[in-house]
Amino acid sequence: MSEVKFSKNHEWVQLKEDIAVVGITKHATEMLGDIVFVEVPEKRKIVEANDQTAVVESTKAASDVYSPISGEITEGNKIIVDDPSKVNTDPEGESWFFKIKLKDKSEFDSLMSKEDYEKFIKENKN
């Protein structure tokens, strides 16, 4: 099982060799509510870490999805564009947002572990 890391903007990143798969966390989907619209980046788009890269909208509001790492987009997940509700049902599995060819592995290493992310959520609850 490859390593999964988490960002303060509630994205998860799974590294498979030099390709990072990025999605939003279950916690993020619970805060957003019913997801009704998703926009993912085009292939070959170059992004810097913390760039606004995708969009997710619930019935209530639109939110930006940031790329926690820099690199080149290799794929956007068309499945969730066609059926945005899939992000609610399987946010940390099938419903990834985009894949990115990693430029600098240290960016990945500096993200939070699962334990640290869970602690981060708890601390920010109040």
Binding site: G33, D34, V36, F37, T59, K60, A62, P84
Partner: protein
């Protein structure tokens, strides 16, 4: 100002409500099931809504009260029968909408349901026109509960026998255990339903009855998607002090006599708008595809000339498509007209749509 809570706050909490601050109150935006399910359940069966944050304004008085209220509310109050309700507004001198409201003629005077965010200011505006002999109160003894959905009448009949005989926009007193509630057949979802003004210490029993009868709680989130599908305005979004009822496409809410005779605040502007037409008008807008155009989105013609703006937008769970309302230059307001909406700096096609997006028949 301290955040206020309705009498049902703890019940909401137990039902898994997520709270948001709204007009000075902690109100449930949604419960465990979420906005889409709450919305669909209301359309398919029945949902209840705590709308106790709204103003319940009661005024006692006779014909001279009717006369005084007609100076600021453009409804035909003189012809309004006892226990009948009308949708209307408070207007400013320029004809702008200070608030939208439901006014009901009662045995001793009138009751007016006001928006939560506007109610304090409304009372100030109204009281300027009232003689000291008229007794008025912004009621805080009663909660206000909406029950909405196709099964609403059958369910409420078991708690308040006789409510099923009410017609749309009519009300009456209902007494259970010597406690009086005032119920109108009305609502703001596009469904059949009721609004129940019930004593704060009785409301819990009513909610328990609802839950036993599989009525689900519905938060402000689904209230917004329901009203938007039904083409109903949200004050602060679709209506404000700089928009008059003619621009808002709500001319129907001003009775014929009042349109001809005037005698209310802002009449000059409204008369001129009726006779000469308005520059802009409220319309329904259906974006193509899944893109959602929310409040603040600009509207352009195919030639990229700016022609309007969106005031409300969301995803309509019953329509399974995005829906918006907004104001547009009159020349582009015809149903079916192609327009462009600019979302996140990209243009998307949309069409002017008739309102409501979603229609069910009210009991007449």
């Amino acid at each position: 100002m301290e955040v206020q809570k309705t009498a049902l706050y703890n019940i909401h909490k137990n039902l898994g409500a997520k709270f948001v601050p709204f007009a000075g109150y902690e109100m449930p935006i949604q419960y465990r099931e979420g906005i889409v399910k709450e919305h669909l359940y209301t359309r398919e069966y029945a949902g209840f809504f705590d709308v106790s944050h709204m103003g319940q304004f009661l005024i006692n008085g006779k014909d001279d009260l009717t006369e005084a209220l007609e100076k600021i509310i453009p409804a035909d109050l003189r012809e309004l029968k006892i226990n009948h309700s009308k949708y209307s507004f408070l207007l400013n001198d320029e004809g702008g909408i200070v608030d939208d409201l439901i006014i009901t003629k009662r045995k001793k005077g009138f009751s007016i349901i006001l928006n939560a965010a506007c109610k304090e200011n409304d009372v100030k505006q109204i009281s300027k026109y009232l003689k000291s002999s008229f007794k008025f109160v912004l009621d805080n003894q009663n909660s206000l509960i909406a029950l909405q959905g196709p099964n609403a009448a059958e369910i409420l009949e078991r708690y308040f026998p006789g409510v099923k005989n009410l017609k749309f926009m009519q009300g009456g007193d209902f007494i259970i255990n010597n406690k009086q509630s005032y119920i109108t057949r009305s609502g703001y979802t596009g469904e059949d339903g009721f609004e129940i003004s019930i004593l704060n210490d009785e409301v819990e029993n009513l909610i328990k009855f609802f839950i036993e009868n599989k009525v689900e709680p519905v938060g402000l989130g689904a209230r917004d998607t329901l009203r938007l599908e039904a083409g109903l305005c949200l004050y602060g979004n679709d209506l404000n002090e700089n928009i008059n009822p003619i621009e808002a496409n709500l001319k129907w809410a001003i009775s014929k006599r009042r349109r001809l005779e005037g005698g209310f605040k802002g009449y000059d502007v409204i008369k001129k708008n009726i006779e000469e037409g308005t520059k802009k008008i409220r319309v329904g807008i259906k974006p193509e595809g899944k893109i959602i155009a929310r409040e603040g989105v600009q509207i352009f013609s195919d030639e990229k000339e700016e022609i309007g703006f969106i005031t409300s937008g969301t995803f309509g769970p019953s329509l399974k498509s995005p829906v918006s309302m907004g104001y547009i230059n009159l020349n582009f307001s015809k149903e079916g007209t192609n327009i462009q909406i600019k979302v996140r700096n990209k243009f998307y096609s949309a069409k002017i749509s008739k309102l409501p997006f979603y229609k069910k028949n009210y009991v007449k």
